[in-house]
């Protein structure tokens, strides 16, 4: 699996600094180098403020680095226009957030559909695809509910469905079990791993706990914007 032809994401000397009005800037990432391989489950473990979310935002094309470069399938994201980046996120990257980030005025089905609405698929095609996912994630009974009418576990399942409904090559999950009790958290993790195996998706999960480490192919430990250690599965 790990050869140079199989690299999905390549990050070189990534730095990210947040500039603030009338206050000193904050350097969050400090020279990150990273290769992520297709089909890999990569866990990034670190404490709050270590730079995990910022790194995931850069990998997921939600933000731009202050310096350094990220390549997605060999193409530098810095050469992408805003529209190209949006299309990349629409077609190839699914994002799962700690706080789910579902749209409160849309039902379960509509939240999932919102990721496909500009995909060019017909309404029927979209609905068929969503029905399969709802069944897979045991959400069929909840399809007409609004997010506030769901438990946190159910909300995260909807967020997962929204991320994978477009058949992405990469899923980026930022603390996906952070809001949950350990049992629900484990169930969500198992779902993600199952989906990753079934559909051969590349999975990058950031977490501050060690739960992810047990399931990941590779774990990177981050502190103060730098990787400080790496562990392969089985070690």
């Amino acid at each position: 699996m790990k050869n140079s032809n199989n690299i999905l994401i390549e990050a070189k000397d990534l730095e990210k600094t947040y500039f603030r009005k009338k206050r000193s800037p904050i350097k969050v990432l400090n020279g990150i180098n990273l290769d992520v391989f297709r089909g890999e489950f990569l866990a990034i473990i670190g404490r709050s403020g270590s730079g995990k979310t910022t790194l995931l935002n850069l990998i997921g094309a939600l933000d731009l680095p202050t310096s350094g470069e990220i390549k997605f399938e060999g193409k530098a994201l810095s050469s992408f226009s805003n529209r190209d980046l949006a299309i990349l996120r629409r077609e190839k990257i699914g994002f799962i957030f700690q706080t789910f980030n579902l749209l409160p005025s849309l039902t379960v089905v509509e939240n999932i559909e919102s990721a496909l609405i500009h995909s060019g698929m017909s309404t029927d095609q979209r609905r068929d695809k969503i029905l399969v996912l709802l069944d897979l994630l045991e959400l069929s009974e909840l399809s007409d509910r609004l997010p506030l009418e769901l438990s946190v576990g159910q909300q995260q399942k909807v967020a997962i469905a929204r991320a994978i409904v477009k058949d992405p090559v990469l899923i980026v999950a930022d603390e996906p079990t952070g809001e949950m009790d350990p049992i629900t958290g484990r169930e969500i993790l198992e779902r993600l791993v199952e989906l990753k195996r079934k559909w051969k998706i590349t999975l990058i999960i950031a977490s501050h706990g060690m739960l992810m480490h047990s399931a990941a192919d590779r774990t990177l430990f981050i502190k103060a914007g730098r990787f400080i250690a790496q562990k392969e599965a089985g070690y």
Binding site: L62, D63, L64, N82, A86, R90, P104
Partner: protein, 403 residues
């Protein structure tokens, strides 16, 4: 789904969106109401100006008491029984320099009931006596049917006459086909109880002349319209030559009713309407600025949601379309409600007599309605574009991080 989502977003922020929509409602309603009132007042003012305009009537005053020994009957005009003369004078007056049109008129009275005979479609008749603009009810064009009559609105109120009623007056049967209100236009000769074709009134006059043994010639009033470009000096000259012609025909000095100074006054009348337009547009722009502010605040509140949409792959233009659609829906709904309210107000105000509206015919112009809705939509587009553009420009991570 875009549409459904827009409707839900609007409903989710009911109070804010109602406040935004009220801006459009007030703006459009005020525009339509103010301009409709201004247009109606202008119509009345123009009617009044017609009286002092470039037209007048000529007749020969004679006696305030009836010359007929058998009762109050005979040719009559403006409080006096008048001599009659032949129709040929009309052609002579019409041929005078500066005269745009001249028309014959015979006004006849029997026991406090006055009927005016005219040629209905002539210009001088329309400016001096009665025209289709003065119709309150019924149809002006049906007056050309046999045995039909137009009645004055005051007379119809007093006698409870309605359209298609048959009445027997002047020893004839007539069907009422229209109710007119010339008094609001203050026409020089618009003071009869009823109006009929000239030949009908001539037959009536001849009948009573034969009955009571007095001679009646063809007409007793000449209606004159002077060329629109005529100044007061020219009008005086025309008046003088008309009177000289009258004297040469009847050997009697005629009298003139009518006046000439409308040209300058007509330039003043549109000021009311212009003012209404300016005030309305200023108000509309003001409320739209409030709508922009409100829409802007609404988008700021939704920054995180916009960040989510961008994170799942919506482009800047997708976001802009969504926000713009919501803004347009709000402005469209506001515009339509504004139109509804303006119809209600223009209907209710005359009913309750809130203002001096007895002479106003408040008709909301369809063009004004269209303009109101279009302006509202333009406002909605402007109110939506600015915040939508700003929202779309945010990096998704920025939008998600800020809120």
């Amino acid at each position: 789904m875009l549409f459904r989502s827009a409707i839900r977003e609007i409903r989710r922020r009911k109070l804010r969106n109602i406040a935004s929509m009220m801006g459009y409602v007030i703006g459009v309603a005020f525009l339509i109401i103010a301009v409709t009132f201004a247009q109606s007042y202008n119509l009345v003012a123009e009617g009044a100006l017609d009286r002092i305009g470039t037209h007048f009537v000529v007749y020969i005053p004679a006696s305030k008491t009836c010359p007929c020994q058998f009762g109050e009957v005979g040719p009559f005009f403006r409080d006096t029984y008048t001599p009659t003369f032949n129709l040929t004078i009309v052609e002579t007056v019409k041929a005078l320099p500066g005269v745009a049109d001249a028309a014959p008129c015979l006004m006849f009275r029997l026991d406090n009931l006055t009927i005016c005979g005219v040629i209905f479609d002539s210009l001088a008749t329309e400016t001096n006596v009665v025209s289709s603009k003065m119709i309150v009810e019924g149809s002006y064009s049906r007056i050309h049917d046999p045995d039909t009559i137009l009645v004055d609105s005051v007379f119809s109120d007093l006698t409870e006459l309605e359209i298609d009623y048959d009445i027997n007056v002047f020893n004839r049967n007539f069907t009422v086909v229209g109710i007119v209100n010339p008094s609001i236009y203050s026409k020089p000769a618009g003071i009869a109880d009823m109006y009929a074709p000239l030949n009908v009134v001539q037959e009536i006059a001849k009948f009573y002349g034969d009955l009571y043994n007095f001679a009646v010639r063809e007409i007793n009033v000449v209606l004159v319209e002077i060329s629109a470009e005529g100044d007061s000096a020219q009008i005086n000259t025309v008046e003088k030559s008309v009177l000289e012609t009258m004297e040469s025909y009847g050997g009697q000095v005629g009298a003139i009713v009518g006046y000439q100074c409308s040209v300058a006054a007509r330039n003043v009348v549109p000021i009311t309407q212009d003012s209404a337009w300016v005030i309305s547009v200023v108000l509309l722009v003001t409320v739209m600025l409030f709508a922009v502010k409100s829409q802007f605040a609404s988008v700021v509140e939704r920054t995180k949601e916009i960040g989510i949409l961008k994170a799942i792959g919506w482009t800047d233009s997708d976001i802009t379309k969504q926000v713009l659609l919501e803004s347009l829906l709000l402005s469209l709904a506001g515009g339509i409600m504004g139109v509804g309210i303006s119809f209600l107000v223009t209907f209710l105000i005359p009913q309750f007599g809130f203002v001096s509206t007895q002479n106003l015919v408040l008709t909301v112009s369809p063009l004004l309605v269209l303009l109101g809705v279009c302006l509202s939509l333009v406002g909605g587009a402007l109110a939506g574009i600015v915040p939508a553009w700003r929202a779309a420009k945010l990096q998704p991570a920025d939008a998600l991080r800020r809120f």
